[in-house]
Structures are given as C-alpha cells and as structure tokens.
Amino acid sequence: MHWGNWPIIKLQKEMKFLSEYRDADLAKKYLDEIRATVTQPWNIMEVCGGQTHSLVKNGIMTLLPDEVQMIHGPGCPVCVTPLNLIDKAIYLAEEKDVILCSFGDMLRVPGSKKSLLQTKAAGADIRILYSPLEAVQLASENPDREVVFFAVGFETTAPANALSIDKADDLGLTNYSILASQVLVPPAMEAVIEDEESKIDAFLAAGHVCTIMGMEEYYPLVAHYKIPMVVTGFEPVDLLQGILLTVQQLEKGEALLQNQYSRVVKPEGNRKAQELLHKIFEVTDREWRGIGNIPKSGFELRSKYASFDANLKFSIDIPKVEEPKECIAGLVLKGIKKPMECSQFGKKCTPQNPMGAPMVSSEGACAAYYHFSGAIETIS
C-alpha cells in the first residue's frame, strides 16, 4: 500500500543552520505563539528519548504554558530493554572467552542482580563502543575470542547493526555475534494509543527514526486514530516549533501528519538503509520492558544470518525474573502516570539506585523528572 498521496505540509520558513535552532529570540517567538494558540489542556507525547533529553537540557518544560503537558514516551532504548536480556548480556560477559561490546549508557542499567558496569568492575571484558563496526574489527583482531555486540536500539541504530553483520559475513568471521533487542517505534506508539487509560492527545514523532524509515508508516496511525503527529527534531527551536504545530492542530480539531524536521527527514526515508535492514533482519514480536509483548515490534536476524545470533550461538541458561512490583515503569512509559505519582519515586528509586529503567538513562522519563522536579518548586 502506498500512502504517499497524503498531504505533507511544508513549513514556510525552513531553518537551515544549527545556530538558528538554538536562537533565543526565535524560541521566544514560538513560545509566544504557543501561548496565544492554546485554550485548553493538551497532553503531547514526545516519542524519542533524545527529545526528552533536549527538553530537559534546555529547560523547555519550565517555559511552556501550564496547558501543554509533555509526556515522555517509550523511545528510550535503555529503558525498554527487558531485564532478562540485560541478565543475558551479563551472563555472556562472564563467559571466559567473550568480549562483550555495548553502547555506554546500557552499562549502568540494573539487571536482576547487578549491572554490566559492576560485571566489568569484577573483571569481565566489557568494552564501550560507539559503533558496532568497531566490534567487527575487534572480532577480526581477536580470532581466539568471541565478540558479542549488545545490539540495543530503535530504527536509528539498527542499520549500523545490520552493517556489522553484513561486514562480518563478508569477512567470513565466525567469532562475531549480536545479542539483539532492536525495537520499532510505530507499533509502540500504537500500543500506547490503544491502552484504555491512555491520555495522549498528540505525538511528536521521533525525527531520527523517520530519517531512516520515512513517514509512510505513520499515515495509517494518524488516519485510524485521528491523532495529530508532527515529525520533530531535537534542537530547542525544533521542539518548540513541533509543539506549536501540534497545538495548532489540536485547537483546530485536525489530525494530520506534519514534518517539522524536513531538513533531515525525507518522506521516503533512507532507502539504502531500509534495503540493508530488509536484507539482514525480519520483523518479529518483541518484549518491551515495562510494556510487555508488542506484536511485530522488533527486528531479528533472518535465518540466513542465524549464525550471528548470540541467543542461538550460546546456550544461555538463566532464570526469567519478574520486574520489582513497586515499579510503575510501564505506566510511566505509556504516559498514564507521571513519575512523581510513583510511591518509590525519589525515595527507594533514584538515579544512584534505580529500581526501573526509566530512572537510569538521562533520557528516561523518571530520571528526567528527578533532575527537573527538584527545582520545579523553587525555580520561578
């Protein structure tokens, strides 16, 4: 099915340079317009953790009118990686011949007993990498070791993971594999909307995910659920412009898909990356931490590349554990509860001692609120 005939609203004034997106005067202009437009309360979910990070870093929530409530969505890869998978990564890292490679912020996430950071301190060979291709290089340099890449992330990181498999396959490496928890954004957005308790009125869609995947897969969501979506970037002015477009739609009773981030996002996305993803991966059901199983919400390796699947390569024998009962991460990730409504927030659960994943990463809703809400009473 082709959805390309739906209207894409091109913004009149596209901003081209980075500094413009941090311009204080421009930010003020958009804030004034938001204030002038809004007449009633709206809950807007920013889907991507990068957007949450920027909202907090730039103090945008302290500037928005009270009517506009930002709800931090499930787009934080660290937050939605299942506990069981972290335990698996720890199990593998403790294997004698394994070099476990990971992105940095996965290391602090607590598994059921400990984190990868603690495992590293106890002597496991765990390396922080910026690209899975470095892991492939490590594998070719260490033929007598098994190199496992902890492939966590959304559509944004999946192409690089796919590339690493393609490269390892070309090189004929037999000592490289990935422990994959690659998840997809649109099914998670649908799960959030479908939840009976959902309070979301509109979405800021994740700009960089759309850079890869394009916008086509969002049209059916907008049409079916009559919910406004604005593909939005990450700089403060991007976010404010995205919020303004969303509020304008809501106030007019419209439900359109708009592209605020058109300087980066093309409607068709990055075809080359998509082809590579299709070559290496196929869509599968995935477990999301805090949310549960979402059908067709992740990638797994095609059977042709099964030899690169760490889950199949190693016999990982660990018990499945339950999340702490007090943790309401799932409700927070779906925007049903605010972090402050959790009885453990800031008490038993802090960034120093997180009970659930949204408290771990600076992109996580709970950590964002923890850092921000301490000041909310005193900052005027």
């Binding site: 959304f154 120093q352 900052i379």
Partner: protein, 345 residues
C-alpha cells in the same frame, strides 16, 4: 610544551622488576639522569627524605595520576602530575615550593617513554617554580599496572592576602572561570582507543599558581574561594559549593566559555561539557564588586583570554545548581553519578 633533553646512553631499553628493587638496577636508573635532571641541594643529599624550611602558614596536598593514554595531544602524564599538585596548592592560596615524586612503573615500560615523561616533569616543575626534593620508584609485574602511575605531594607557603574558604562565600558573590571549559577532557577523549578523531584540540594542562598569585596580590581577601574543576568538571565543584555551603548556585549557559571544536565533539560523543574534566583552568568565587575587574585582569594573562563571569551564588534553591539555558529555560545541574557514559543515540 617545549623542552629537548636527549636521553643518556643506557644498557637497558625497558623497565624491568629489578629497577624497583632498591639495588643496583635502581641506582643505575636514578644515576642514568634522573638525579641530574632534577638536580637541587635536597636531592644531592641522597637522603631518605628532604628537610625543608617554610615560613608562616603552609599548605600541603597530594594527588595521584593514572591517566590513559599516558601521552595525549601536546602533553603527557608527567606534566599533569606536576601541575595537578601545584594547582591544588594554588587553590589553597599557596605559593607551591616543594614536591615529592613517586612512580609505580609497569614492567616493560619503554625507557624512551619514561625519559620523555621525566623531561616533561622537569619542564613543568620549572614553569611552576617548584623543586622536586624527594621521590620513590617501584616496579610492578606486567599486567599489574598501566604503564606508569605517578603520585606527587607538595607543600607551599600560603599567600599573605589569602583568605580562601567556603565560609567566606556569600549570596551575591560572582562565579568566574579563568578560561574555556572542558578542553583537557575532550583532548584525552579524542585520542582514546577506538575514537581517534582528527582534531586539533590540545590539552590545556598548565600551572595556575602564578595567575592565582597575581589575583591575590591585587584582590586579596575579596577572592572568597578557588577551585580547579578537574575530575567531574565544573558541575561537580559547583554542586559541592551548593551542598557544603548551604547555598544556591545560578549559572548561565550563554556565558560559559567553550571552544567551538570542544563543544562540537561533546555533542557528538553525547557528553555534557559541565561534567568534563579540566586541567588548565580554575574557578573563582569573588565579591560581586570586583568580579568585572578580576575578569579584566585575567583576560590580560596568557591562557586566560576567555575568562568570564558564568554565574552567581544565590539565596534561593539551596543546595542546588540551576542553569538557565540559551533559550531561557531552567534545569538543575546535578552531581555526576558514576562515570559519564556516552548515550546510544
């Protein structure tokens, strides 16, 4: 850093366990040029320790250096080890005088590398105007260290005009940094294994004692507090002030001096420059009335041309550091929890 000092001819080219034994090989190593390099009256005694004469109030500090890699753009662990302790003493308002110098070497360290580090130490000590008066060398088995660890301790004479203490910090005081932030930490990151960016960012490690002395000569007790924001960066020292002083701290993002290249690399790596380590700068909390004059004075000093007032000590939001972003929003700058880890996306 410039200092050429050819390595003497030696009959060994790597450090072995014997060089730390205290016996013949240790003497060989020391006589190879170490004593000659740092030559002074105290070392000539070749005694178990140094006997020093100090007048008035004395500051005493120590620091250990375990950096990797040991060589980084424009500097190395040796220069860092001297500047680290010199700067800690300077932050106490002292004029550093004497240092101790201890090495823990890993077996297999190349003698040429060790020599280059020794030469840097000599150069840095000369720049700071300190003497190395006592020292020690130990060697550990291969795999039990990371090439070289250095400890330096030092003493210095407290400046007559210095009244530096958190007790003197008051709401209304201005917060000044002496130059651009985050440069050293990013220079190190850019040469870490696996990153290797093509950048021209150099470590800004240097001694700060002469600059501090100049400020104390001019502004004396109106300089309320000095801190060098090394590990944990500016955010950490500011949080310490807020927490230990029962005060609030306001920062303004727009006024933070940072090199464009450093800022770009921080964004690329997902690091917050407020938490990145500094070596060649200090932070001063000063009486509001003299703040502009302090900045003017600093800007005339070499390596302080980007000095700026970055914030203020306040009475509200006690125990918290709050930054106003470039677009006017606010957020709390909290203490760094563990190591700063790069983000996935």
């Amino acid at each position: 850093m410039q200092l050429q000092c050819p390595m003497p001819k030696l009959d060994f080219d790597i450090i072995t366990l014997g060089h730390g034994s205290g016996g013949l090989l240790t003497n060989k190593l020391l006589d190879s040029g170490v004593f000659h390099l740092f030559d002074n009256e105290q070392l000539q005694q070749r005694h178990d320790g140094a006997i020093l004469e100090l007048k008035g109030k004395t500051a005493f500090s120590t620091d250990s250096f375990v950096i990797s890699p040991i060589f980084f753009p424009d500097s190395n662990i040796g220069e860092l080890a001297v500047n680290g302790t010199v700067n800690d003493l300077a932050m106490c308002g002292a004029v550093p005088k004497y240092l101790s110098l201890s090495f823990i070497l890993e077996e297999g360290l190349e003698m040429t590398d060790f020599w280059e580090i020794l030469v840097s130490i000599k150069w840095a000590a000369e720049q700071a105007g300190v003497q190395i008066v006592t020292g020690d060398t130990k060697v550990v088995e291969k795999g039990k260290g990371d090439k070289i660890f250095i400890n330096t301790s030092g003493v210095g004479q407290v400046h007559d005009n210095a009244k530096i203490s958190l007790e003197h910090v008051r709401p209304g005081d201005k917060i000044i940094v002496s130059d651009s932030i985050a440069t050293h930490g990013v220079a190190i990151m850019s040469v870490r294994e696996g990153l290797e960016f093509e950048t021209t960012i150099k470590s800004d490690t240097r001694c700060l004692n002469h600059t501090v002395t100049a400020l104390l000569d001019n502004f004396g007790e109106d300089i309320h507090l000095l801190k060098d924001p090394t590990r944990g960066g500016l955010a950490t020292v500011l949080n310490e002030i807020a927490r230990d002083g029962n005060l609030g701290v306001d920062l303004n993002q727009k006024h933070l001096p940072i090199q464009k290249e450093v800022s770009a690399l921080c964004e690329l790596l997902g690091l917050d420059p407020l938490y990145v380590a500094n070596e060649g700068i200090f932070m001063a909390v000063v009486k509001a009335e003299i703040a502009e004059k302090v900045v003017d004075k600093l800007r005339k000093i070499e390596h302080c041309s980007n000095a700026a007032i970055i914030g203020e000590v306040v009475e509200n939001h006690i125990n918290q550091v709050v930054i106003t972003s470039a677009i006017g929003g606010k957020r709390v700058v909290s203490m760094l929890i563990g190591e700063q880890l790069p983000r996935i996306c």
